[in-house]
């Protein structure tokens, strides 16, 4: 199947296994630039698998189906090529990289994904601007990447990268988990700001993030499939009724 012209992301009949166990079983999804999509579902429904497989985690095997990103077959791109093509994943569990300072890491990452090289001074200005948005103290820059960070600090670090790397598709894997309401507001502000020029795929358990980041489309995932699709009201319904009523539909 040919991708629709202009689609940011198009997934058709996707099947994914991890160590031989099928996790995603025939998933279809189209995201256009400027759209915010939310995927909701229980633990183990395959939401994070979808995030990881889009970014190219080597442990996930695509057994069937196709993914097109900006008209290109995603399977032909390595993880770093996907990043440079404009894909970004905000990790549920960001990795610690001991000995690598946040400031250097951010600078190197920005220069890895962007064609226009910023001078050190320009970079500092952009960085300061984004850090202010997220209320991140500049002492962050000399700490090591995620080393000794609290859960909230790690998530803010992810959103800082989102703002700096300026992707076309932002995948946010449970970015709201473990955040208090103030941190949630900051993170949402970041996501909203990034979503102006991008498509967003927001994976979450909870309605509370979707109060702050308004989705255009809400998908419900059960057993590796999207079982229901709707507007923002669907998220509110799930918040009230849980997932059980949807399982009947399956």
């Amino acid at each position: 199947m040919k991708p629709k012209k202009g689609s940011l992301l198009e997934i058709s009949n996707l099947h994914v296994s991890v160590e031989g166990i099928p996790i995603i079983n025939g998933l279809d999804l189209v995201i256009e630039l400027g759209e915010i999509h939310a995927i909701m579902g229980r633990n183990g429904s395959g939401k994070s698998t979808l995030a990881n497989v889009l970014m190219g985690h080597p442990a996930y095997e695509i057994t069937d189906g196709m993914i097109y990103f900006l008209g290109e077959k995603l399977s032909e791109l390595s993880v770093d090529e996907r990043a440079r093509a404009g894909m970004f994943l905000s990790f549920q569990y960001p990795m610690t990289i001991p000995g690598v300072q946040v400031g250097n890491f951010l600078r190197k990452s920005v220069s890895a994904v962007s064609e226009n090289k910023l001078s050190a001074k320009e970079f500092r200005m952009v960085l300061k601007d984004k850090m202010d948005v997220l209320q991140i103290d500049k002492s962050f820059l000399s700490r090591f990447v995620n080393d000794g960070f609290s859960g909230g600090e790690k998530k803010r670090m992810e959103i800082l990268q989102l703002l700096l790397l300026n992707p076309k598709l932002a995948i946010l894997d449970e970015t709201d988990s473990g955040l208090d309401i103030d941190a949630l507001r900051l993170v949402s502000k970041g996501i909203n700001s990034a979503s102006k020029n991008a498509g967003c795929l927001v994976i979450t358990h909870y309605q509370r993030l979707l109060d702050l980041v308004k989705p255009d489309i809400v998908h419900v995932m059960i057993d590796g499939k999207i079982v229901k699709k709707g507007g923002p009201e669907l998220a509110i319904e799930i918040e009230k009724k849980g997932y059980d009523w949807l399982e009947v539909i399956v």
Partner: protein
Amino acid sequence: MKEEMKEEMKPEEIVSEYKYGFNDSETAVIRFDKGLSEQVVRDISEIKKEPTWMTEIRVKAYHHFLERPMPTWGNEEMLNNINFEAITYFLRSSGKTATDWDDVPEEIKNTFDKLGIPEAEQKWLGGVTAQYESEAVYHSIREDLEVQGVIFLDMDSGLREHEELVKEYFCSVVPYTDNKFSALNTAVWSGGSFIYVPKGVHVEMPVQAYFRINAKNMGQFERTLIIADEGSSINYVEGCTAPAYSTESLHSAVVELIAHKSAKIRYSTVQNWSNNVYNLVTKRGVAHENSTIEWIDGNIGSKLTMKYPAVILKGQGSHAEIISVAYASEGMHQDAGSKIHHLASNTTSNILSKSISKNGGRSSYRGLVKVSKKANNCRSNVVCDALLLDEESQSDTYPTMEVANSSFDIQHEASVGKVSEEQLFYLMSRGHSEQEAMSMVVNGFFEPFTRELPMEYAVELNRLLEIEMEGSIG
């Protein structure tokens, strides 16, 4: 634009330099035949017009070298492959020691250019002595150091100009009978640095020297002696690189440090010998009352390195700090570590050792912490971390404790780790290639060492590691 080019220098441009080396045609003025005999030892001493006592020590050391068996630790197989008859023991590369940069021969300058020596000329440097082949050909010292009475000379000049000082301390920390290679060094030593810091003088800026092997089969046997008098301090930095050669080379240095009461000596080394060099070095310091000795020791190259920087904590309240890293790739064995002797009460020591093994390389940590019976309330903290980059590589730890005093407090931690797939995935998701991601993790692993180095050394070390990570991804 130009600035950007420099910043963005391609790793392959650097690697090609290292791969092929950059040996200038030899400009030796005096060169001895290969091989060693008592006559060669006497001739070396005579050419240098040394005092008789030095000639006698050399000859005694030579005989001890002959009698002394090879070490039975480290890597016996590699050690037994050294052909001592195939080595040139003395080579003087220019007629005299230059005191002015203009006097340094053009060919030698070219080599230094490639090594980035001119940068070391920058104002913040305390002084430069560059060892080219056997003797220092260039030596400079800032006037303010001279005014403070700091002596900074190559060892040969040190012996000529400050014979009494040299006589008092030479072999006082590392006797020639210490081991086979300290005996060899004592017999044939040439060059190295001689530093004396007077009472209460603080040399704030790092003092640097560069060493390099340039002639085929040329052994380097430099001898360094640093004396920090009461309440003084000095930060000495030494960097080594060598061009690649097909025949084996031997580097066997001896470094002796003496920190008098309340003095502080920091001795930093980054060595990047080409992977056919045997690097067999004895480094030891003696710390008197309330003094501090720090060894910052980085071993990136060589075929076999056996080096265990040591501190003898002789005076009460003295302190030792040893931070070392080792990187072993294919065909390489880094047998490195540290030795601490707590001889006096209230002495403390910290040891941090980090190693990376790749492509079948082998890193060993060999450490000794010894506490004498009379030494009360001493503390030691030992941390050894190893990072293995693949399945074929190897890391071993041989810690030894000999504790004769029950009040001793020791912490010992050891870990062996791998670069996780999740770390690489995370970094690659930020646009870094697998190789860049690997370099980042590796550089981060060495960071506790790198942060102790002057900036330019830290940058060079990180670049070296980036080059080393090339082709490491299957």
